[in-house]
């Protein structure tokens, strides 16, 4: 692509474009985790789900030629991982955080195992919509080339925000998350609700993985995810379990993740690797700033082990 010299304006523009591109997996993983955590469990295994979703989406897209079938495969794989987590955690003394760590290792291992033959071939991409077509400047066009999944993610955030407040199912998930005893008194089975909530959460994380391998960066490698699944868990806490907050936080994290490549694009190479640490440092600072030893977090589900 021919580049027009737009000077330092390139940095914020590249960061905006980067924020939109990089944030999409964060949006899906964090919305999925928000559903799971609202039901009172925490699934740290979404990192593994993300990687396995990326692999299965890529593999199916290579074999069938359809990125949408790949997306479906990733969602189904994620659903299976989520349901497994939800099922195994219902047994007494089985710790949801530890199982999450195990599933993180297992999901990544399984993805590497089955993904070996798919490192070479190339798969069709998920489509993007060129919102920047009005502009003549290639950088603007590149920044505003928005993938459909980003738009779906935004719509989903609004829908979930509405659904948690206004629907029967939303209420059930919140009750189970706040007090398993209250839920039992209402005749609900907390384990079933959590099973389904973790399953849906896993499916969304799988879709996030499909975005990684089918759009940006757009290929399957063993280093495709570097903690996005885990950062998304921290992000949900920062967003106070509010889906709209998750969306905003995901954009912020995406922008931080795009800082390194954006600076490199205008020729800043000093401390290049340090900028790659920006999203992790940002997550950590946000966690420090928003946690407090003396009070529980506003909006935290009462049954969640991570906030106790």
């Amino acid at each position: 692509m021919e580049t027009t010299d737009i000077g330092l304006w390139g940095v914020p523009l590249a960061m905006l474009g980067g924020a939109i591109r990089v944030s999409t997996p964060f949006i899906f993983v964090s919305l999925g985790e928000a559903i799971t955590e609202r039901s009172g469990r925490i699934n740290l295994g979404l990192e593994g789900t993300l990687v396995f979703g990326a692999m299965s989406a890529y593999a199916v897209a290579v074999m069938t030629g359809s990125p949408w079938l790949g997306l479906l495969a990733a969602a189904l794989a994620g659903l299976c991982f989520g349901l497994f987590h939800g099922w195994i955690c219902k047994f007494p003394k089985v710790n949801d955080i530890a199982i999450g760590i195990a599933l993180m290792l297992f999901g990544t291992g399984l993805a590497f195992f089955f993904g070996k033959p798919f490192i070479q071939p190339s798969a069709p991409d998920l489509p993007a919509i060129p919102f920047g077509a009005w502009s003549d400047i290639p950088q603007v066009q590149a920044a505003l080339n928005v993938n459909v999944l980003f738009l779906i993610g935004g719509a989903l955030a609004v829908f979930l925000w509405w659904a948690f407040r206004n629907t029967h199912i939303g209420l059930i998930v919140r009750v189970v998350g706040d007090s398993a005893d209250a839920a039992r008194a209402m005749g609900l089975n907390p384990n079933t609700v959590r099973l389904l909530a973790t399953g849906v959460g896993g499916a969304l994380a799988g879709i996030g993985g499909a975005y990684l391998s089918l759009y940006y960066p757009g290929s399957w490698t063993e280093r495709i995810s570097s903690g996005q699944g885990l950062m998304a868990v921290a992000l949900v806490i920062f967003a106070r379990w509010n889906p709209l907050g998750c969306f905003a936080a995901a954009l912020l994290f995406g922008g931080a993740g795009a800082l390194g490549p954006a600076l490199q694009s205008v020729g800043v190479t000093q401390g290049y690797y340090l900028f790659y640490a920006a999203p992790y440092i940002l997550t950590l600072i946000i966690m420090i700033a928003t946690s407090s030893p003396s009070r529980t977090l506003a909006g935290a589900p009462g049954e969640l082990s991570i906030t106790k």
Partner: protein, 380 residues
């Protein structure tokens, strides 16, 4: 024991020559061995099914694994070398676990410990070797200790979740290593694989006499034994176990929980940092990207398999070192991806965690529930 006090008469009648006492003693301790071993077997059976499903022979796989890990003196030495960093990395999980903390970012402490040790070794070039090696060890341990100690401090003083923060810190540590190794500390001569300047030979940690295994194994085993003594035999360990059970109760007792948490996490990170130093000084010879080889993550599995008991870590680390070591042979002989070992480890991890649910469920392991003879039933 409580039941001895409540029914001494029954005990005297049944305690013929201490036989029953010995049986009960065995039964109470057997649970901690039988359940993890059974879980290990179940995990291996499930993995066999997985191997069958991808069209390979599980028998051949386990045979290859045995040969690659423990089949010959050569492979045993290879496994032991790999278990050295695992011992220390597992302590980085097991020590905080005694306080109820799940720290999974040991990889970061390993990486920084390695970089710090390499920097010290290069900077002090020319000094006496014992001094430099000692300072490299201290520096590596300090770097790792500070890194994980911060995680503990954030946990106690700011209520930041230690599981997430430690993993974030690990990613930051790896970025920091890449920055240092590709920038300020880079040896201009290392072209393909950016590294720090190689350590002079006199600053390298050698092998145990008569073996092709470096001294890191001995260091790791000593660290495990000392950690066990710390937890089981000292008042700090006792305080840590109380705080791990119930923080409020510990505070009511006047225990300084904050320093306890920071101290234990710093010590844990120090061990992981030492693992990084040993990887530099005994294996790599310079700090480079190979430091992030995943020992920190396998260490998590080792610690959970050992149920956070430092003595149990020793055999488990050797077992997993052997499984790790056999990865290459499995890949070559059976045409399976190198990630096969990861799948097995993941399965074992899940089964072991699941087995937690069976503790206290079996009557066999609880003499208090054993059926008393009929003629005594009325009396007790």
């Amino acid at each position: 024991m409580a039941d001895t006090v409540s029914s001494p008469d029954v005990r005297t009648i049944l305690d013929v020559g201490g036989y029953r006492t010995a049986l009960e003693w065995t039964a109470r301790r057997a649970e901690a061995f039988v359940i993890p071993l059974a879980a290990l077997v179940v995990g291996m059976v499930l993995f066999s099914l997985f191997v069958l499903a991808v069209g390979k022979s599980p028998v051949q796989l386990y045979e290859t694994m045995w040969r690659g890990g423990f089949g010959s003196w050569f492979s045993i030495q290879n496994s032991l070398s790999r278990s050295a960093p695992l011992l220390l990395a597992a302590l980085c999980v097991a020590l905080p676990a005694r306080l109820g903390l799940v720290v999974i970012g040991g990889e970061g402490a390993i990486v920084l410990g390695g970089v710090a040790a390499a920097a010290i070794g290069v900077a002090l070039n020319g000094a006496p070797s014992f001094l430099v090696i000692l300072l490299m060890g201290v520096g590596g341990a300090a770097a790792g200790g500070i890194w994980i100690g911060v995680v503990g401090a954030l946990r106690h003083y700011r209520a930041v979740n230690e599981t997430i923060s430690s993993l974030l810190m690990a990613y930051i540590a790896i970025a920091l290593m890449n920055h240092l190794v590709e920038g300020p500390l880079r040896d201009p001569a290392s072209l393909n694989k950016p590294s720090t300047q190689p350590l002079a030979d006199i600053y390298r940690v050698g092998n145990i006499p008569g073996m092709e295994v470096h001294w890191g194994l001995v260091v790791g085993i000593i660290a495990c034994v000392l950690s066990w003594l710390l937890i089981e035999k000292t008042r700090w360990g006792f305080a840590a176990r109380i705080a791990g059970g119930n923080v409020r109760a510990a505070q009511v007792q006047g225990l300084a929980v904050g320093p306890l948490i920071v101290g234990f996490t710093a010590l844990a990170g120090g061990f992981a940092g030492l693992a990084g130093m040993l990887e530099i000084a005994a294996v790599q010879g310079s700090a480079n990207g190979s430091l992030a080889a995943g020992y920190g993550y396998t260490g998590i599995l080792v610690a959970f398999l050992a149920r956070h008991n430092p003595l149990a870590i020793i055999p488990v680390a050797i077992l997993l070192g052997g499984i790790d070591a056999s990865g290459g042979l499995i890949q070559r002989r059976m045409d399976l991806p190198d990630a096969t070992v990861l799948v097995l480890q993941g399965m074992l991890f899940i089964v072991i965690l699941f087995s937690e649910t069976f503790y206290g469920r079996f009557k066999l392991f609880n003499p208090d529930l054993w059926q008393r003879p009929d003629f005594l039933r009325g009396n007790v």
